[in-house]
């Protein structure tokens, strides 16, 4: 799973959101490091819908503009949980190796 996809799913995990809110949320979650562009966002949303990981929650018209809210499906929840656990395992592994490096002499053992 690529990072934008992971971030979009994470953003929808809390509550249903519309497109622009997802962009803002992702920017906030990553301290402004990732600012999704509309093209990238909708490529991800379209694919995730196709895979059944998200679905349309509701539609609203705000200032004569269409806002469509998306929510995570049960399948999306499972997939996000699996990806999270995979990332955690990797992070733990990396951490333990880095700790080993810092211990003097261990690098040559």
């Amino acid at each position: 799973m690529r990072e934008p996809t992971f971030l979009v799913l994470t953003s929808l995990a809390a509550e249903p959101q519309h497109g622009y809110a997802v962009i803002e949320d992702v920017a906030k979650m990553t301290d402004g490091r990732v600012r999704l562009r509309a093209g990238t966002l909708y490529a991800a949303l379209d694919r995730l819908r196709g895979e059944g990981l998200i679905e349309v929650d509701r539609e609203e018209i705000v200032q004569s503009r269409l806002r469509r809210y998306y929510r995570l499906t049960a399948l999306g929840e499972t997939r996000l949980a699996a990806e999270t656990s995979r990332l955690r395992d990797q992070a733990t592994l990396a951490e333990s190796r880095l700790r080993a490096r810092r211990r003097p002499g261990m690098a040559f053992s």
Binding site: Y20, G39, T40, D46
Partner: protein, 327 residues
């Protein structure tokens, strides 16, 4: 032009279904993300939309092609080209044996066995049989072997003009390998066209082969018997009708794809013929790069033109007579 109009123009890159599903929403997102005084999209925004739009087109195009019949059509056309190559080699073999018999020499059988034509006929026949039997992978591999034999035969002749004469085979043979490789596994020409369809096409190829043989014979007569030329022409016409009738047996969804591919394939020998007429009129004595380049332009250009014409005609026809209700 307003900022929104700029965005809409960029979004036009997306495929239709995508626009129907997301355009309004995306305009909302894009406008929400733009500063109030912005007049035009930024270069990064434009690049992102163009790139994503084209990617969406590619993905949707690919998804749409899946199961739409291109690979079914490839299974049919692959057998057709293999059949054409078999018929071509067989016709030359028969012609050679005929010449041997006429010259009164003995052992035409021994001549046949020692000829590269026998090997080529046999190799392509195996391809046809394997493809019809549904052994797609074996057929594709055998087609590769047969292609190698064709090239080997040209090398063995060691006559420069052979490469020019065989130019069309050098396109059709590898094309057959490609077609049989991409053909849908387990989908034979018989499954697509039915037994009757395959029989009609086989009849068409056989007849075209006989007609081509007649045309070759004509060249050896000082005074061309007019009847013979007419008979050969009639043979080609009937062969064409049989071929069309056979292809018509396919499901209506596959038919246009079949037509496009068959047109492309049949345009190759036609282009070779046109090129030979042209080359003869130039009275060229040795093979030069100019001749090779011209031949490539003929052999690649004419089929491409034919395909574009068919596709263009198809699109125009669909626009003018929209039968299907668009979603």
């Amino acid at each position: 032009m307003t900022l929104e109009a700029y965005y809409r123009r960029l979004l036009a890159v997306y495929p239709r279904e995508h626009r129907l599903a997301y355009e309004e929403e995306m305009i909302g997102v894009l406008m929400a993300g733009a500063e109030p005084d912005r007049r035009r999209p930024t270069a990064a925004e434009a690049a992102d939309l163009l790139w994503s739009g084209l990617a969406a087109r590619l993905i949707r195009g690919g998804a749409r092609q899946r199961g739409t019949g291109w690979r079914d059509a490839a299974a049919v056309v692959g057998v057709l080209t293999a059949g054409l190559l078999t018929a071509t080699a067989a016709r030359r073999l028969v012609g050679m044996l005929w010449a041997v018999v006429l010259s009164g020499r003995e052992f035409p059988f021994a001549y046949a066995l020692s000829s590269e034509l026998t090997l080529r006929t046999a190799a392509w026949s195996v391809v046809v049989v394997a493809a019809l039997a549904g052994l797609r992978r074996a057929a594709a591999c055998m087609a590769a072997v047969a292609t190698a034999i064709e090239i080997g035969a040209i090398i063995a002749w060691n006559i420069e003009w052979r490469w020019v004469d065989m130019g069309w085979l050098l396109i059709l043979a590898p094309l057959t390998v490609v077609l049989l490789t991409v053909a849908r596994p387990g989908r034979t020409a018989t499954a697509v066209l039915g037994r009757g369809g395959v029989t009609l096409i086989a009849g068409g190829v056989g007849l075209a082969c006989v007609a081509a043989g007649l045309f070759v014979e004509i060249r050896f007569y000082e005074v061309v018997p007019v009847n013979l030329a007419n008979v050969a022409l009639a043979g080609f016409v009937i062969a064409g009708v049989l071929l069309l009738a056979g292809l018509w047996r396919a499901r209506s969804q596959i038919r246009p794809r079949l037509v496009v591919m068959v047109v492309a394939v049949l345009a190759v020998p036609f282009a070779q013929d046109r090129f030979e007429q042209f080359a003869r009129s130039q009275l060229a004595f040795e093979v030069t790069w100019d001749i090779v380049l011209t031949q490539v332009i003929f052999l690649v250009g004419l089929p491409s033109l034919a395909v574009l014409t068919v596709l263009g005609g198809w699109t125009v026809a669909r626009r003018m007579f929209p039968l299907r209700v668009s979603r």
